[in-house]
Symmetry: C2
Subunit: 380 residues, 2 copies
């Protein structure tokens, strides 16, 4: 993997970059949609390309449990298995073991847990996480980490950072000779000194990139922005920085301003399936009765397949009738919105207009919020 | 609508035809996939075109209840509403009132029933069914009928035929000046004299085409084939004949041999969603464990999007994980199979090879069945 900073915004840390992998090149800041089980829900690989997706994320924990990484390796790896020939990043599994698995017990060697699918018992340590991710064959893989819950006391997070560093060292050892790029995950919760400790430990190991983990787990936006702002400067400038699990547009703007290059989140895809759609005029809940006979597209300013072909009235009907097509059309729209949003961010940085763009977007969000409050007042 | 017989098979009644509507031309014998609620489940209009669909069916009963025919009319009709610019046929609603609605009561004027969705009470008679279908704006619409259950005694079916004829006459009256083609539905259950009575009544009214209703409701294949064989000769040769709700390949072959031109059924789409796939080697249940690491396509001889891009292993994984993409990919494959099957039938008729083709297909089905029995024996 090669990372190149193409443009650094003159005030602050925002930057445009370019990452080249064996499966293609993409520009940063980039948003990676989540294909949890080897499929970005409701979309085909062609849909993803059509919508402008350049790299996607898939979950090690899920693929380990089903269908199993050995099966995927024997079938030629995850790219071939899911029919996606672009770049893929797999996470370490650490977060899912913490958030989904049952009866989790931690030891120095790794995590023992029960599958959320069938209750079967498993053990995954750093070497296992590496072996699984090598079998899957993603372009970018993540060191195995211990993700602390929020809130967590200092002692817990201190130990979590210690384990994460210990495991990161094992992952680096195992990586030898592997062409996959390996990122370390900085933990430390909301404690500045623990973030500093974690970043220091990992930077000393010289990873191909660095992720910020343990955020978007319950802390407020200001805290999240503060941790990002304080942690990114501790990482080398010539390596990509990835903020895991963060996807609200306002959080992305905060983080880009602090120098983050990569993002992933289920927000656009999950919201789409719940009928919550991103538009240039703010969020739109397609189930609302006012759209029942609305012949206009979701978003007049959107050029996606959904907006160029179908009315709000039809999309509402599909959603109310639980028609499968609803999930695909809504997901295409939301991902198109996110891809356009990231493109605007990259252009704004390149044209030295990023602060302006960012403030305009915040103002737009505030306007939308005010309008919503006004409507609620009128109704009550 | 214009119907033209292009080739009559020299022995028997099988024939190739061509039907021209305001939304395009299609060749017969034709299979119409079912878009119950204004969407062929899991597919977009582009998917349908890609797979070779030329005409689809949508259900008057469902669209009447949700979103309502007035909404669809105000939005420019069903074609525009669902983004499908090819021909559409809507059924009369009679069958769904009989099979889905609750607390149904019949009178001379029509059917009173409760919605299966919300229990709301409705009344639909022949004039209502026509008004709803005119609002939807399909190219071919159906006269309102009374579909007898199976088995039903002679007296019940006799009354059902009487009501169907009475209502058909009202539909013909209402049709005046409407450019939509109107088909009458021959009822009469499995009673030859009642089928003859029903056909005679309807033919005297001079419909644009004739459907055989009340079949595939529980009777055996031989009975179904007999009723079709005995009824089609009672209908005018210059009008299309449509066998409603019939879709098993063997039934389609039986019926084509008897002179039927049009078919609809949820079989290929519903089976797809249940993971039951049609292949040149017989049915394939994608959930079977033997496909977990099977790198080959569903069907080596199939050129559909699904078979040209994905392995059985991936399709099994998607299905087991209940991934939404599974339903789309499986539906694309099954409809592609049905479109290919109908094309082969048309070519066989045109090339005077229909009897050979039909016998080969029956033999193929028998071989598949024998193989299945053999496998079950080996396992037990």
């Amino acid at each position: 993997m090669e990372f190149q900073v193409v443009h650094k915004f003159s005030s602050g840390r925002a930057r445009c970059g370019r990452i080249a992998t064996l499966h293609g090149v993409f520009e940063t800041p980039v948003f990676m949609p989540v294909g949890t089980q080897g499929s970005v829900k409701a979309l085909s690989p062609d849909d993803l390309k059509e919508v402008g997706v350049k790299i996607l994320l898939s979950n090690t924990y899920h693929l380990f449990l089903r269908p199993g990484h050995d099966i995927i390796r024997n079938l030629g790896g995850l790219h071939r298995f899911m029919g996606w020939d672009g770049p893929i990043l797999t996470d370490s599994g650490g977060y899912q073991i913490y958030s989904l698995a049952k009866l989790r017990t931690l030891s120095e060697e790794g995590a023992s847990f029960q599958s959320h699918l069938d209750g079967s018992r498993h053990f995954v340590g750093p070497r296992d996480a590496m072996a699984i991710q090598q079998a899957l064959g993603a372009d970018i893989i993540m060191a195995f980490d211990e993700c602390a819950p929020f809130p967590a006391d200092y002692k817990y997070v201190h130990n979590s950072v210690r384990l994460t560093s210990r495991w990161a060292a094992e992952c680096i050892q195992v990586k030898q000779g592997n062409t996959q790029a390996l990122f370390g995950i900085v933990q430390g919760g909301t404690y500045p000194d623990l973030r500093e400790k974690s970043a220091g430990d990992l930077v000393a190991m010289d990873f191909d990139g660095y992720a910020l983990g343990g955020l978007s787990v319950g802390e407020d936006r200001e805290t999240r922005a503060r941790v990002v702002r304080e942690t990114v400067p501790l990482l080398p400038e010539d390596k990509p920085v990835y903020l895991m699990g963060v996807g609200k547009p306002e959080d992305i703007l905060d983080a880009v301003a602090s120098g983050v290059d990569m993002f992933d989140c289920v927000l656009p895809t999950r919201n789409a399936r719940n009928g919550s759609l991103f538009t240039s005029k703010g969020p739109l809940a397609i189930k609302n009765a006012c759209y029942a006979d609305d012949d206009s597209p979701l978003d007049e300013q959107c050029g996606c397949y959904t907006c160029s072909r179908f009315s709000r009235a039809y999309l509402r009907h599909l959603f109310m009738a639980k028609e499968l097509l609803a999930y695909r059309l809504n997901t295409i729209h939301n991902l198109h919105y996110f891809m356009g949003f990231m493109k605007e961010i990259r252009e704004a940085i390149a044209k030295e207009r990023f602060e302006e763009y960012r403030n305009d977007y915040y103002r737009h969000l505030a306007d939308v919020e005010e309008e919503r409050r006004g409507e609620n007042l009128r109704r009550s």
